[in-house]
Amino acid sequence: MTLASRRVSFVDDRHEMLALLRRNFGSSQDQRFDWRHTGNPAGPAWSWFVYDKKTLGTVALATVFPRNMYVDGKRVLGGQVGEFVVEAGYRSLGPAVLMQRTTFEPVDRGSLTFCYDCPPHDQGMSTFVRLGMRANAEVYRYAYPLRCEQNVDKKFGRHLWTRPLVAVVNLALRLRAARWRTPNLEIAYYNERFGDEFSALDKSLSSAGNIRASRSAEDLNWRYREDPLSSTCLPTGTRGKYKVLVARRNTELVAFAVFFIQSDGIASLVDLFGHELPNAGTALLDAVIQICTQKKVSSIHAFCSEASELRYLLTGLGFRRRERSSRVVAYARPDDCIGKLVHSGQQWTFNQVEVML
């Protein structure tokens, strides 16, 4: 088997690419295809097929999605690797390594300053190990239980005698969530399109010494308002409508939080960003907890890297660190001045928004 790669055309190869994505990721791929591959304000994605030179059959697919990023305070164009698929029957290291190398092309050409991948498990690291690369950061899941029905049912089954136990534990969980009051800070839902004040907040926050995604209005609108799956609550899907909370002082935007509640009763905190996070961030998180309690959510999950400020807010409010959810592995040209920074001296302050596709 001799393999080669070629760039995918989102017009000519659309059907073949969608068929491959459906086989590996499910049917919801169709709805998000254009939004994801060509609607991104950072620019269109790059996708490649790896194919067998003899049979011309497609063996693997990978995509790099452009992302507006900040590295040490400078706004640069980065890329996130995703849709990494090797067809059943070809799942060995060879095609995967070729595919992984191919995703470095936009960086080598200078179209991107760097790209990063977030392998969720050890096996996903094998291509990087082969290429002599190591993880730049690790992202962990944090959990805050609000109700215990699911855990009790799982452990003991659903019985009459478990009801008092559930009631007592749920009461204890509710009492634990003390209200956080910050003077002159107003917390409210934000249901409109993101405007200039969000871009201003993004610019005003010094990101010297760290690597993070941009939160400009256009990035936020694309991510939370234009995602075809975010506007509807799918009865069978796990992704619900994004809920945005803002913290304001004298009408001025100080910070915001984004979360969604899945159909299985788990809420996921996607992002928390802004000034004065020890106060505003904690107040926002407290509001998320209160809303989720009212909506009978069983647990709130949050994801962040070790260097993310969110980590301290989460643990301060009683979130418990659970398993490592992914690693971050970055590729940058060693001769590029910002590329060098990616591998040395920068803190990867990633929340879920930087990891999710």
Binding site: M1, T2, L3, Y90, R91, S92, L93, G94, A96, V97, L98, R101, D122, Q123, M125, S126, T127, V129, R130
Partner: protein
């Protein structure tokens, strides 16, 4: 003992030593190492390191195909091909 058989035994010893799942199964020369889950993608890297170190060969990305790692016999054939020794 044939040189081929010695090579097979050397590879088998490595498998038994390195992969706990291999110890629980009777892995003969044709036992499917990948399909049975004994070797995954990270395990392949251990095998690559083993053959490169033990037999002084360089395993290229093109060599990282299931055919070369599918079984002890396939791996031995691959090593012989890379070292330029014809199989007996």
């Amino acid at each position: 003992m044939h040189a081929d058989q010695a090579l097979h035994d050397q590879i088998r010893s490595f498998m038994l030593l390195t992969f706990p799942a291999a110890k629980k199964r009777a892995i003969d020369d044709d036992f499917p190492l990948i399909d049975s889950g004994i070797i995954d993608s990270l395990g392949t890297l251990d095998v690559v390191a083993f053959v490169e170190h033990s037999f002084g060969i360089e395993v290229s990305d093109d060599d990282l195909t299931p055919e070369n790692f599918a079984s002890i016999r396939a791996l031995a054939t691959f090593v012989l091909r890379k070292t330029g020794v014809p199989a007996e």
